[in-house]
């Protein structure tokens, strides 16, 4: 794939601020998403860069989760939802008729708001995804590697056969991250992964995200401005119009967006005036 997209060429500002060349992994072009007759998101156009953390922020109901789910076609699971526009993954249209969503999801994994481990052992939780996807290597090693990457290994290495539901909420969420890592995706989508956790567990997840960024492209939805500024490199700020349709108000490098917002709405939102 060509690593330089047209958008990047046309955005010299972005290029300048980075010491190295950014590679676009995902490219959204005029994406509109509907639930039945209701349009939830209109005209979202932006890029997501490899091995960067991109944060989605915005008031509740502005379509952050909707956009996130459209990236690995989890929206297919919602009856009545449909999409137009293009989402390119390494240059391939994800919504091409030929594309099997099952394959997409292995390459673009997802971590949910509420930890949702399978009611099975810790070991099985991690091995399952790899197994259905035909993993051929050493499963013990895979489990250990994944748990280490998710910073959970030390806590659970003696109880891998224990039911995952007995872990604490924070541990469960890290297990879900480990489970996602185990199928070796390129992109990890996270929908408010820490909102159901206590501050300490939240801190560990944030550390983990910074760690994972070395190997994975991460997209994270958060309603916590502090979190966005701590973990992300880029931030997309979504708003709703008067028909409750969400749209992308502003997209920039995180530092820039927080220190020097271009729109009044963005400024109001990050300063906590609404949302």
């Amino acid at each position: 794939m060509n690593s330089l997209s047209l958008a990047q060429v046309l955005q010299p500002g972005v290029e300048q601020s980075e010491s190295q060349v950014k590679k676009t992994v995902l490219k959204l072009e005029h994406v509109n998403i509907h639930y039945g007759s209701f349009q939830a998101v209109k005209d979202a156009t932006f890029d997501i860069y490899e091995k960067h953390v991109t944060a989605f922020i915005g008031p509740s109901g502005c379509g952050k989760s909707t956009v996130l789910r459209s990236i690995n076609r989890m929206n297919d699971m919602i009856r009545g939802s449909w999409i137009d526009g293009k989402i390119l993954f390494n240059g391939h249209d994800l919504y091409d008729e030929q594309v099997d969503p099952v394959l997409i999801r292995r390459r673009i994994g997802m971590v949910f708001q509420k930890p949702n481990p399978f009611p099975k052992s810790i070991y099985e939780n991690i091995a399952w995804g790899a197994r259905i996807n035909g993993f051929k290597g050493d499963y013990d090693e895979l489990v250990e590697q994944s748990l280490r990457q998710a910073a959970l290994w030390e806590e659970v290495k003696d109880k891998l056969k224990q039911n995952a539901l007995r872990l604490s909420g924070g541990q469960q969420q890290r297990l879900c991250i480990a489970r996602t890592i185990a199928v070796q995706p390129e992109v990890i989508l996270m929908d408010e992964p820490a909102s159901a956790l206590d501050p300490i567990a939240t801190g560990r997840i944030e550390e983990l995200i910074l760690e994972l960024k070395n190997n994975y492209t991460i997209v994270i939805v958060t309603h916590n401005m502090g979190q966005a500024s701590r973990v992300s490199d880029h931030t997309a700020f979504f708003m709703v119009d008067d028909k409750r349709t969400g749209y992308l108000q502003e997209y920039a490098e995180t530092e820039q967006l927080f220190l020097n917002p271009q729109h009044r709405k963005t400024e109001e939102y990050i300063s906590g005036k609404f949302g």
Partner: protein
Amino acid sequence: MKIAIEHPFGKKMRIHERLIEATLFGFALLSIVITLGIAIILIRESYLFFSDPEVELWGFLTGKEWQPMIGRFGFLPLLNATLTTSVIAMALGIPVGLFVAVYLSEYASDKTRGILKPVLEVLAGIPTIVYGYFALTFMTPLLRSIFGMETVQIYNTASAGLVIGILVLPMIATMAEDAIGAVPKELRLAAYALGGTKMETTFKVVIPAALSGLSATFLLALSRAIGETMIVALAAGAGPNLTFSPFEAAETITGYIVRISGGDVSYNSVDYNSIFALGLILFLITFTLNMISRKISRMFHQEYE
């Protein structure tokens, strides 16, 4: 002398409120009375049955011949026929019921569901005697035309069993759908997000997670099959017969009770007492199955709360 001062907000007796509550409580207690009534009557008559000099408990439990006329009281033929019809019923009802449930909860569109649910309700609302008629006039001729008139007798346990399977199918499908529906949506999403196909998600995540709820359903269905009466009375045949062939006639426990009590049976005869002894066994089997089923289903629902 003290003068009692009534407190303006003092408690009132409200006799009639109390009376109402006591009456309603009495109604609720009646359910216990019914259970006790069932237990006492079954035990009392069974006691009379077993104290008959012709009957002995060991012979009853192990005997291979049930011929009250000539003093043979071995209940294995009846038990065997009951188990045969029930196993056949489960062999049909469990897979089909489960698959219907999976289809309804995981695959069907709202429109299809809107058609299928009423079909199941109608199937569940049809009296069992109608199923009995169906067994005799449809299932038996069908089996006979498939396997041959010589192989399949007019009355046979296969036909009764299969139709009992159809009878319990809507119950299994509905309860299994509830159990599957109780599995949190998040688990399915997690499986999909890891790249699971619909089938893998269903079989390896959803069904295992619903397993206890499903087993509770199956046990209840089994209990229902064991207690089913009119289908076997019409289609399985009259006359105890210890056979393992599903194509032969064999009378079940319930079939025997109905046949004997339908005739003129005089009180205090061995015949009269024997139907209560068989009733006691039937009650114990089904009661145990129901209790286990409830226990499991309780645990299942606690798991997801």
